[in-house]
């Protein structure tokens, strides 16, 4: 499913819409970047509370379809700037991580 459609159905707000047509095949939930580096798979949408700048590098390295900050968390301007430069989709969910992941799972694997 396209990220644009996922965002519409889940009520996610785009902070950086670098590639809204990116394909989302699956999801991943983690706040530890070392864990994401080791285990996340390409085309997963990553739900996190971590807002360090390294989120951008890790998401690009793993070829994720985008990053969703849970519970309305907003990263700093340097993260947004970096995501624009790197062409990484950033979104915010007003729902918490459990709810966001649950909705995404129902949407992708009905």
């Amino acid at each position: 499913m396209k990220l644009r459609e996922v965002a519409e159905k889940l009520g996610l707000e785009f902070l950086v819409a670098a590639a809204p047509e990116a394909e989302v095949e699956d999801g991943y939930v983690s706040d530890l970047l070392s864990d994401v580096l080791a285990h996340a798979q390409p085309k997963q949408l990553w739900i996190t509370h971590q807002r360090h700048l390294n989120v951008v590098a890790v998401a690009k390295l793993r070829e994720l379809s985008g990053v969703v900050f849970a519970r309305g968390i907003r990263p700093g301007p340097e993260v947004i700037q970096k995501a624009r430069e790197e062409g990484l989709n950033l979104l915010v969910s007003s729902a918490d991580a459990f709810e966001t992941a649950g909705r995404l799972h129902r949407l992708l694997f009905p």
């Binding site: 530890l32 070392s34 890790v58």
Partner: protein, 254 residues
Amino acid sequence: MRWFRADLHIHSALSPCGSLAMSPRRIVEEARKAGLSLIAICDHNAGENGVYVRRLAREFPVVLMGMEIQASEEVEILALFPEEEPCLALQEELYALLPPIPNDPELFGDQVVVDENEEIVRTVDKLLLSPVPLSLEEVTRRVEARGGLVIPAHVDRVPGGLLGVLGLFPPGEWPAVEIAPWTEVEEAKKRWPELQGRHLFRSSDAHYPKEIGRAWTELYLRAPTFSELSRAILEGGGRIIRPGPPLKEVGWSA
């Protein structure tokens, strides 16, 4: 120059997770027994017990003021200071920023400042185990602005280590990092190639008296002092930093 043994990450009774037996007097006794020439007292977001450890030790061993500061990313860094004033000033600044969560000694343990006569000076109310609401970079900036040295703690560990949490080094210098007490240096360099070319420290991260000096760093310096340590990291000049052998027993890891 000659070799000195250093353990730059020792908790005291001020850390809730630190044993109440970690009084300044006991810390000095154990550090002497372990043959340490240089130590640092690094409690969670606090450094006050270092004052009393210094009074007792009288430079045998040399005692640096320090803190283990938890940044908002839940990455922990050691902040080391040559003098008491900048460390205590930063402690006060961080305490004001800590979330107003009271410590529950039954759950987390006591947080006490203990003087050189084993008397409790005061009990700290807010839970010190919380992260301060400052980014890793901002914490680093504030430590360095006060003349302190930053050494990210147990970088390869989850939880709390810079690499364990953030996956890779963020932009910045990070010339010196601490590895976990049990980490095999060569294996760690394979997993985290960015450790190559950085000064690696190993420390005990002692929370109990018998753990003091269980892991250490060998330093080749003119004297076991803050300025020599700082020069070893920033200049070299024939000074050497070499982590001691790993602990057999593995604790937390990624």
